[in-house]
Each structure stands twice: as structure tokens, then as C-alpha cells.
Symmetry: C2
Subunit: 405 residues, 2 copies
């Protein structure tokens, strides 16, 4: 008998009809002879609605009280899903995060899971129940409710899979897997049957937020097989695992497994930054305090007693960035919202020198000027003018041998 953890997001349980569809899917998995634990998020817009309600009372809600409030969303989903399963004749029981044994570190709004005391879950599985667990939440040492932050239900699911030594953790989404590129832009993109944890992490960091990066890290650490698949159909999705194996779809070893692009980029260049210790820390701490999500950071080599620091963020953070830079007395800077990011990802890069060079050459061949570069061991990202991005994605997909036959 296999143990399967399934995770359904908020849009999958947005109303009674969708909850019934999820119940059917979950029930079938159990009826096929598996022990099933289901992790669910809050229904549709519930979280946003609760936040709006809180905002009517205060602009600065205590994080503790916000967690107390938001945790109710998942608690409603689990009760309703358990009812739907019961109605279809499946034995099922719901458990809140605290009841399911998620012990967290007491950091409200972005808690980390310390451990899962999974006795109750195991006992309910042994009783023949499908166990429906509230994602996104846990309990700290003094008995307070913590939430894991947005998207935390992925992490809840993977952590439960670790605790139960589950055979697979299925993440149901509204896409049917991980693609080599955005199929709306690159016509020859295809769904990858497998990707490695590291590749998935880079894809996530690139904006393809199919999975919460933290959940992939935990899966990698404990070797939990993830299966990213559609909640709308029964086709196989993408398996995320340590080492991608050969199979009928992967006849050759790919060096690059995916091309991603992101149009929502604000490029910030700060000139005349005094070349003194601590200045970068000061800038990025101030940005973090304003909750500006900084993506790429590039600091050019020093040419004088002043230097240039560049970074990228989302375009909607433009006002906050201005406020922070003005506040720090940095007057000579430039904001550019006409750029986009194009990236290639692949674990094979590590052992294949020249991958970045090849990417730069292909962009140059298209007449495309590169404004910023950032690399990791398995990823190269370039900031270019928006107008080149789509062509570049198609060209890179072809050049790295990714086009479907």
C-alpha cells in the first residue's frame, strides 16, 4: 500500500462544485488502494477577503492576530472537503495544522516548520480514513497559531510527505506540468516528464512559481518525489526528483532544460555610490524593510571612489524603490521599466562549459543588447529590452535543442 500526499490550492476548492471535484479525485486515489493525506489551501479569495476585513480595522494588524484570522480559511476548506468525501462514501477526517502536528518556530506570518508530530495522522490513516489537513499553518511552543506565508501549503504538503515517508507528493495546479518554455510564446515548448530539484528551484526563482521554492528545498533534502500535475485532467505531469533518468521522452541528455522569460522587470541603476563598507547592506536592508522583492543584484568592479550598483525588482515596486533611495540620499539613479528577463536553466551546464557564451552569442545574433547578467551554477539570466524577449526565447529554445519534433 502506497502513501500519497496530495496538495490542492485555493482555486481548486473555490466553491462547492470544485470541492466535489477534488473529493472525487482524492477518493479515486484512495479507492485504488492508497493511503491518502490531502493538504488544502483556503477557498478561492477567502484569504484576500479576510485581509480586506482586517484592513477596515487597522493598517498595521499584529502578525499574531493576522495568523489567527487567516488560519480559519484552511480550516473551513478541510471541513468542507471532508464532508464532500463522506457524502461520496469515503471515510475521511479533517485535521487543522496544529492537530496534524505541524510544530513551527513562532515567527508569525512566515513560520518555518520545525517538525511534524505525525501520530494523529498515522492513526487516522490506519483507521482507514482519508486525512484532510489544513495547509499553511502550524502551532508554536506556546500554543499560538503560526502561518507559513503565502504559498506555504506546498511546504506543508512536502513536510507531511517527509514525516510519513510518503511514496510521492502530488501537487495539483492549473497547469499540467513544467514546460521547457512558456508554450504561449515558444510554440515548440513541451512538458518535461522530469526535472531535478535544482532545476525546479531555478525555474521557481525565475518566476515560474509552480512550486514554492522552500517546498522544493525540503523535497530535495529528504528525497521526496514530487509530481506536479493538473487538477483538471488525468495526464501525467512533471516529476521532480534528484536525478533525471532517461526515458522515452528524454532520449538525449539535455544541457539546458528550460527557457524562461519574465516581462515584469524594473531595472534600477544607482550611480555614484560611495565605495565604502556597508553601503550595499544599507541599501538592500532598507529595500527589504519596505518589502521590495529584489531579484538580480549586480555590482560592477570599481572604477573610481564611486561605484555603480544595479538590481531588478517588479515594476509595481517602483514607488517604494524611489522612496527608499531618496530616503538614503542617493540622488543619481535611474529606473527602467522597459526591460525584461530571459533565462536558461539546466543542471547539465555544470559539466558543459560555454553554455553562457552560447546564450550571449545567440542574443547578439538577434541584435539584442544585454544590459545585466546574473548566473548560478545551473542558470544564466540576462536583462534585455522587452522587444527582443519573445524572439530570443524561441531562438534559445531551438539553439539548445529543446524544440519538440
Amino acid at each position: 500500500m502506497s502513501i500519497i500526499v496530495q496538495k490542492f490550492g485555493g482555486s481548486s476548492v473555490a466553491n462547492a462544485e470544485r470541492i466535489q471535484r477534488v473529493a472525487k479525485r482524492v477518493g479515486e486515489t484512495a479507492a485504488a488502494g492508497n493511503q491518502v493525506v490531502v493538504i488544502v489551501s483556503a477557498m478561492g479569495d477567502t484569504t484576500d477577503d479576510l485581509i480586506a476585513l482586517a484592513r477596515q480595522l487597522t493598517q498595521n494588524p499584529s502578525r499574531r492576530e493576522m495568523d489567527m484570522l487567516l488560519a480559519t480559511g484552511e480550516q473551513q476548506s478541510i471541513a468542507l472537503l471532508a464532508m464532500a468525501l463522506n457524502e461520496m462514501g469515503y471515510a475521511a477526517i479533517s485535521l487543522t495544522g496544529p492537530q496534524a502536528g505541524y510544530h513551527t518556530d513562532g515567527i508569525f506570518a512566515k513560520a518555518k516548520i520545525l517538525e511534524i508530530a505525525g501520530e494523529r495522522v498515522k492513526q487516522e490513516l490506519d483507521n482507514g480514513n482519508i486525512v484532510v489537513v489544513a495547509g499553511f499553518q502550524g502551532i508554536d511552543a506556546i500554543g499560538d497559531i503560526n502561518t507559513l506565508g503565502r504559498g506555504g501549503s506546498d511546504t506543508s504538503a512536502v513536510a507531511m510527505a517527509v514525516a510519513l515517508k510518503a511514496d510521492v507528493c502530488e501537487i495539483f495546479t492549473d497547469v499540467d506540468g513544467v514546460y521547457t518554455a512558456d508554450p504561449r510564446v515558444v510554440k515548440k515548448a513541451w512538458k518535461m516528464p522530469q526535472v531535478s530539484y535544482d532545476e525546479m528551484l531555478e525555474m521557481a526563482a525565475m518566476g515560474a512559481l509552480v512550486l514554492q521554492p522552500r517546498s522544493v528545498e525540503i523535497a530535495k533534502q529528504y528525497g521526496i518525489k514530487l509530481h506536479v500535475r493538473s487538477s483538471f485532467n488525468y495526464s501525467e505531469g512533471t516529476i521532480v526528483l534528484e536525478e533525471v533518468t532517461m526515458n522515452e521522452n528524454i532520449e538525449k541528455e539535455y544541457v539546458v532544460i528550460g527557457v524562461a522569460h519574465d516581462m515584469n522587470v524594473l531595472k534600477v541603476n544607482i550611480f555614484d555610490v560611495p565605495d565604502q563598507p556597508g553601503i550595499a547592506s544599507k541599501i538592500f536592508s532598507a529595500l527589504a524593510k519596505e518589502k521590495v522583492n529584489v531579484d538580480m543584484i549586480v555590482q560592477a568592479g570599481k572604477q573610481s571612489e564611486y561605484q555603480e550598483i544595479s538590481f531588478t525588482t517588479g515594476r509595481d515596486d517602483q514607488d517604494k524603490v524611489k522612496k527608499v533611495l531618496d530616503g538614503l540620499g542617493l540622488i543619481n539613479y535611474n529606473l527602467d521599466g522597459t526591460v525584461a528577463k530571459i533565462s536558461i536553466v539546466g543542471a547539465g551546464m555544470i559539466t558543459n562549459p560555454g553554455v553562457a557564451a552560447k546564450m550571449f552569442r545567440i542574443l547578439a545574433d538577434k541584435g539584442c543588447n544585454i544590459e545585466m547578467i546574473s548566473t548560478s551554477e545551473i542558470k544564466v539570466s540576462c536583462i534585455v529590452a522587452q522587444e527582443y524577449v519573445k524572439d530570443a526565447a524561441v531562438a534559445l529554445h531551438t539553439a539548445f535543442g529543446l524544440d519538440a519534433e
Copy 2:
């Protein structure tokens, strides 16, 4: 420093504006130098909305899952009220029923409180916090959430007052206290400054559901002073306590302290009931199973081998009553929805013989025929034709010396 428990019902916290009003009231009580614990219900229609959502999935929801679902309503209220208090500058913290230490007996949907482990609440009070607690809920021995049933928040409040040895438990409602009669009918009715627990219990049983009867029982058992008052104004309400003391408003000892009437009465007469042991048990068990709330029950002395059993219930139970009686093969019965109930209540009756006789005489003087009578030590209720009820209420109020000067 006094310890005060305050309870606000669902309509008092139905939206952000009302939550702010409650916060102001609670904050003022704390600012006056008291330690305050606030018990709140779910916002307005939340509970009904959640029930409707569940009904979309199943007609027979598991009680366990229903409790899991409904408990979220109070959890939302406490978080929001704590936020509102914080925003006004008051230190406050919310606690769910389980966090506040309500240990219940595991009977879903109508649990009883076994004990309150009040350490966390005491600790938060000592930390200078106003403690906002979710009413209506507790946790059982295996960690499942139980609810106390509708109106259970009154019981939550009184039980917390017991656990903390509170000086008073204030119940805020949309009326400003307990009246000698319904002021809409009896113009000379007045708000009683004090009533005894027993009188309050009889008033509650008579349909004046200002307080959940169970909460009054607990208050009586532990001698907790209750204060029923309006959430809309600051006037003194009605104090419920063991022995009513003399004060400026009560210059004389009243024998009867209240006249109540209830227009929503269905009178059921069952004729030709075989005079054999167990028949009454069979009838009323079957009615209970259909959740028919039976009020008065009268069985006349036997005249033959058949006898007559009469009882009253609410008019909306008419269909269920028919179904039960037909199901038991009782064919000779009569349902009458044209009657009403008029009652007098007063602890003084015990030591004043002739109170019931006086009531019957006053009704007779009005030309009003009595169809059923039911008495307790401190209450007499009569079923009469609806048309007489309002006149009778006024006449009884005058005859028992209750009219305001």
C-alpha cells in the same frame, strides 16, 4: 483590581464598525482599571452562511466536521476584535476556545465544558492584556474541536467567570435588561434591577431567551454575578444573582416579578391514548428524535382505559409533529395554532399560597378560558386563546403590583 468577563453576541460584532464599537466599550472597561476577558460569538450571519455552504455538499454533515467548520466563525471575530483593540492603543490578545483551555466532553455540536485550564488566560491578563476569547468552542481529550451548540457563548462566558473567580460576568445584548413584561405590550413594564437565578431560568424557559439557560445554571451553581445589559448604551441592566436584595427600585418584596407571553405556540391534544406503561415515553422520544422542542406537557387523570395527553411546541414544528404521531399510529389528535402562552414568574410564590388561584381568577374576569396549565415552584403558565393574551398580560401586571408608578 476587578476581573470582569464580558460577552458580546454575533450581532454586536457583525461588521467592522460594530467591532470597533465593542472594542471601545471593552477598552474603556480595561482603562477603568479592570482585568478584562471578552467572549465573542461569530460575526452576524457567519454561522448561517457556513451551514448553507456545508448543505451544498451534504444534507447530513458529520457533526465533527460541522464543528470544525463552525469554530472558524468565532476565531475570525476574536482576531478582528483584538486588532481593533490594538489599533485603539489597548494591549490585547486573542485566544481560541482550545487555547483558552476549554476542555469539553467530546459530544460534537452540543458539548459540555468539563473544566477550564485557565493558565494562559491568567498569564495574558497578568501581562496586561485584554484577553479576547472565542465563545462556543472547546477541545476534547483527543484534541478535536467541539462546539457547545447555539447560544453556547453565554455558557463560555459564565464558565470563564467561574475559572477566573471573576467579580462579574456582563452579558451584552440588544435589550437593556430583563423586564417585568414585554414593554411593547405592557406599557407599565419596567426593567428589573435584579432577578434571582431561578427566576431568570424560568424566564428563559418561557421564551425570553436573553440568556442561555445552561449559563444561568452554572452561574447559580458557582454564585457568579451576571449583569445583562445593552451594548448600545451605558445604563445599568439587570443583575442576576442568588438572592435579590432591597434597593431603591425594589421597595417591596415582589411575589411575582414578571409576566411573559409567547404567541408562537402549537397546542397538540392526543385523544384515545391507550393507558399502558411506556406510551408517553414512546411519544416524546419520537418527538425528540425529530428535534421537536416540546414545552408544556399535561396528562389528565384517567377516565377510562384511554386517556388524553396534551403538549405544546412551536408552530413551525407542525409538520414534524404530524409525521411523528402518524408514524406511531395515533390517529385521533388535534393541532391548534390559535393559542398562546401567558406566564407569571416569581421566587416569592413559594411562600405565598394562592398566587396561581389569583392568576386564574384574573384570567376568568377577562372572560378568558384556560386550555392548559403547567406550574413549577416559581412559575405558572396557562395556554389561552391568542386574542386574550395581551389584555391578560396587562391585567396580570397590574394585579400583581408590577406596574411602574
